[in-house]
Structure formats: structure tokens, C-alpha cells
């Protein structure tokens, strides 16, 4: 079931036929079809990407994802920066949740250089990653509601997110691009009184989520627009490389934090959040519940983390740091799925190749292009947001 409106039966007589190679035979001059561009002028919170829709009436017959509006060539730029010089640049790959770049890059460098980051640094890293996850989800919730015209949710979640940014600021020294997790460890420990202020922020997040639940998830209009819409077949999960909440909402318990625990996640007590219905509503709900898990994880981390000890491992002089030839892949579970860095070194002072695997890569291109067909135009924005894609991690 892809549409839940029984009184609407689409007239498919005008639909394009398929050509021999499987592509659609769309003759734009026939007047039957209309090209409609969703983006790149920021369609909702999906960032600067665009979907070139071919519509027939109200229905999408073909959608093509266009990315590259934010392409800066990170992977190329990193090849001409030393290992420490890459550290400030990686976080720019993903604005709403930059810390995974820092963590994955640092961990990849550490692994190839044979360095072990201190335990205390690992806890702080996990803390930062969970804080970032909360932020990313809060932004998503606002965007998902906003895509359906429910603007108030975004007003609330942005406020809660901003409080978390204040925590980020006092911990890392910056609001958005924290540049805190560096190869070898982290820059500094927790500031004084951080736990208390963090607890206040977490309470605010929880109370916001309660309001969001009442107004968004228990909302006849929202349900009507999202339940049963944008269904992802669990069978597609592996073949389309679907990870994170998109997979978990389809009942596949993919969560790197559990599957291959990194940092200190094996010492934390949590269960991946699962859903069954695999529609927009379920995906939103999985993310909402995932925030609660993260809130709990932040509390656990603060309760269990060591407060003393080194924060940086001994690293070679960063000005001429050379790493022997090798390759590795480091992954983490970000708010959108599996985030990973593939790093190849060649014994010089510069990375040979860095490849960033953002979860949006598969979600926003091959998956979206498949799912968008037969969708009503009005649901396109909602679907795009529900896949929770950030274009900079696609094009880097």
C-alpha cells in the first residue's frame, strides 16, 4: 500500500510506457508531463539538493535526485593537507551533526598510526556524539512537521536544540563546528558545573518531546498524511544500503552502536529502537524514541565516565606526522545511519585517499528515486525529510 486514500484512484492511462532498457519513455513535448523542481532552494530541512520531478497530474512518474550544490571536494582537499590539518576541515562535511566526521577521522588516523586514545577521551567523545545525535533529531522533528505545514514543532525543537548548542559551546568552544575530537583524544575535559546544566537541558529536551508527542504524533492531520505513506520494503534494506532509523523503522535492528560497539558503547545499557510499519510516521516515531534513548545515554555517560586521567594520547609532532601505508574503515551510528571513513595512507605526511560514507548517499539518491514514483506531489517534501538526508555528506 503506497497510498492510503481509498477515494482517490489515479488515472494511469496517461502514464509513460517503459522503454526496452527499463527507463521510462517520457516525451516532455507531449504536454502530458510537467517538470517540477523541488529545490535546490532549500526544500525544507533537506539542505541544498533538488529532485527533478516529472509529474503527470498530481502524481510523480519519475524523480531524479540532483546533488553537488555543496560540493567542495573535501576528499581532494584532504589529500593536500597533513593529518592534523585535516582535522578542522572534516566537520564541515555535515553541518547538523559534524561530530561523526571528527570521530571517524580521528579513529581512522589513530588506528593506522597505532595510537590509542585515552579512556576518558573516549567517554567524552561518546558524550559529544550523543549530544549531536539529539540535536540532529531535534532538527529533523521540526523539519518533518514543517514539511506538512506544522510549523510550531520546529519552533520548539529549535529552542531545545539551541540549549544543547549552549552546552556544546561551553564544552567545546563552538556552537556548530566543534573541532574538539582530534586525532589522539579530545581537547579538554568537562567544564565545571556541566553536569547540572546538562541535566537541565535534558529535562527541557524531554519536556519538548512530550509536547511534540502531543501535538505532532497524536495529531489527526499528521497521521493522515504520514501513516502508510512512503513505505520502505524491509527486503530493500540490504540491497539499497539502508541504515539507521530508516532500517530500524522497517524492523531491521541495524545499529552500529550494538552491532560493532565502538568507543565505550559496550559499557552502556540501551536497546536499538525498532519500528514495524516502515512508513513516514514510523520513521518519525523511531527517531523521537531514539532521542529519548540518547537522553538516557547522555545521563549514563555522565554518571559512569571517569573524571580524571589524560585526554590526549602522545602523538608525534603534528607538523610532520607521517603514517605508514595502510587502509582502514571506521564507522559510527549517526542519527541518519552508518557514517564511515575509509582512509588510505601511503607512508607520507598526507592521506592518500579519504572516502566519506554518509548514510544519505544511498538514502537520497537510489532509494529516494525509487520511492518517489507514484507519490502525490504534496507528499514529496514529507518523504524527502523522512529519509533524513543531508546532502553535504553525499557530495562532500
Amino acid at each position: 500500500m503506497t497510498q492510503n486514500a481509498p477515494f482517490f484512484t489515479p488515472d494511469r492511462s496517461q502514464y509513460p510506457a517503459k522503454k526496452a532498457d527499463g527507463t521510462l519513455d517520457i516525451d516532455i513535448a507531449s504536454g502530458k508531463y510537467l517538470k517540477l523542481w523541488q529545490g535546490p532552494n532549500h526544500p525544507g530541512i533537506t539542505g541544498n539538493m533538488s529532485v527533478e520531478l516529472t509529474v503527470c497530474g498530481d502524481e510523480v512518474v519519475e524523480g531524479k535526485t540532483h546533488v553537488g550544490y555543496l560540493h567542495r571536494g573535501f576528499e581532494k582537499l584532504m589529500e593536500r593537507r597533513t593529518f592534523i590539518q585535516c582535522f578542522p576541515i572534516v566537520c564541515r562535511i555535515c553541518v547538523p551533526e559534524p561530530d561523526f566526521n571528527e570521530y571517524c577521522y580521528a579513529a581512522a588516523v589513530e588506528e593506522l598510526a597505532g595510537i590509542k586514545s585515552p579512556e576518558r577521551a573516549d567517554w567524552i567523545r561518546a558524550l559529544i556524539l550523543e549530544m549531536g545525535r539529539i540535536n540532529s533529531y531535534m532538527m529533523y522533528l521540526g523539519g518533518q512537521a514543517g514539511a506538512l505545514g506544522l510549523g510550531v514543532i520546529g519552533q520548539w525543537t529549535t529552542y531545545a536544540r539551541d540549549l544543547m548548542l549552549d552546552r556544546f559551546e561551553e564544552l567545546t568552544g563552538a556552537r556548530i563546528y566543534h573541532m574538539f575530537i582530534m586525532p589522539g583524544g579530545v581537547r579538554d575535559g568537562l567544564p565545571e558545573g556541566f553536569d547540572k546544566r546538562m541535566e537541565e537541558t535534558l529535562r527541557e529536551v524531554e519536556s519538548t518531546l512530550k509536547d511534540v508527542y502531543d501535538v505532532m504524533f497524536c495529531n489527526a492531520v499528521f497521521k493522515k498524511r504520514t501513516v502508510g505513506v512512503g513505505y520502505i520494503d524491509p527486503a530493500l534494506v540490504d540491497s539499497y544500503g539502508i541504515t539507521g532509523p530508516n532500517a530500524r523503522a522497517a524492523g531491521v535492528a541495524k545499529d552500529v552502536r550494538k552491532d560493532q560497539p565502538y568507543l565505550i558503547y559496550s559499557q552502556l545499557d540501551f536497546e536499538p529502537v525498532l519500528g514495524q510499519d516502515s512508513d513516514i510516521f514510523t520513521r518519525a516515531d523511531v527517531r523521537r524514541r531514539d532521542v529519548l534513548v540518547s537522553v538516557d545515554l547522555v545521563r549514563q555517560i555522565l554518571a559512569k565516565m571517569p573524571r580524571t586521567g589524560p585526554l590526549m594520547a602522545t602523538v608525534p609532532n603534528v607538523l610532520h606526522w607521517k603514517i605508514p601505508r595502510g587502509e582502514t574503515y571506521i564507522r559510527g551510528e549517526c542519527s541518519r545511519g552508518e557514517y564511515g571513513y575509509y582512509l588510505v595512507t601511503d607512508g607520507s605526511g598526507y592521506p592518500r585517499r579519504v572516502n566519506v560514507r554518509g548514510p544519505s548517499y544511498t538514502h537520497a539518491v537510489s532509494l529516494l528515486e525509487r520511492m518517489i514514483v507514484n507519490l502525490n506531489i504534496s507528499d514529496v517534501a514529507s518523504l524527502m525529510v523522512s529519509l533524513h538526508t543531508y546532502p553535504p555528506e553525499i557530495e562532500r
Partner: protein, 176 residues
Amino acid sequence: MRELHTKLKSLFPVGDLTEQRSNLGFVTVPQEHLRAVLVHLRDREGFTHLVLLTAVDWLEAGQFQLTYLLSNRTAGKDLGVRVMLARDGATMQSIHDVWPTAATYQRELREMFGIDFPGSPRLHEEFILEGWNDIPPYRRDFDTLKYAQENYSERPGRVTHDPAAHMKQKLNSGGN
């Protein structure tokens, strides 16, 4: 990992295993056997998830390395399958029918490295770049700084001094 490698080795002419971690290994596969190895790994060994597909330019050796990183979630293991391609006129068979997402990766590799994957859908459509007029930018012989300086203007007025040279000139001019 070793077990899997022994098994693979009995079936295909694969190279040695590089064991990066207990749950991550890399193995080189001849170009023509790649497809069979991938399908075997996917269908028989549980490596159902194509994590990424990317290339490394070994300019000095005249080769491209293609890395197909596969993941077996239930076993918690990852295997990187490497294929070495001649850099000149690099062509590789497409695996978009094994994993549909591979089409996107292949499109990117075609655009950024200039590696051809005949048969891959929409391969020649622009993906990230628009109106690109130079050699594919991720190739090692493409100099991004030079390109940037030639195409974009910098704000003038920047000048710097090398401390050692500056001191030598200031303190030791006159030869004493």
C-alpha cells in the same frame, strides 16, 4: 576472517588477506573474478550490505584501486575487496544489478576518477559537478590549488616572510 579467506582462496584466485582489525580485512581479487566473488560473498557468506565503493589513485604505479567494502552485520565483520585496474582507459564491469546502489557509486567514480562502468544506468549524467572542463578532479594528477588559482581570483595584498631568512637578513647583513 582467516577462515573466510581460506574458503575464498579455495574457490577464487584471491590475493593475501590484510587483517586490519579482527573484524576488518582486505583482499585483492583479479578484475575478472570480482563479480563472482561479490555474489558469492553476498549470497553464501552473508555479506549483504555494500558499505561503499570507491577508488584510490596509485598514480605512481599507474593503477586505480577499486575498493568494494562489504559488511556482514550478523557476524559483525567487514571485508574490503580490492581490484587493481590499469589507470589508462580504466574500465570495470558494473555491479548495479548486484546492488542497485552501486549505480550511484559508479556514476560518481566515472565523474570524479574517469573510470568507465559500461552498462551502469545514467552513468554519463552529471552527478556532482556541472560543466566540468578539466581532467576528473579526484585523480592525483589534478592539482586543485593550481586550478583554483587559475579560475578564481584571490584577494590581493597577502605577503609573508620566512622567519629564518628574515632573521638572517636583519641580524647578519654585512657579513659579521
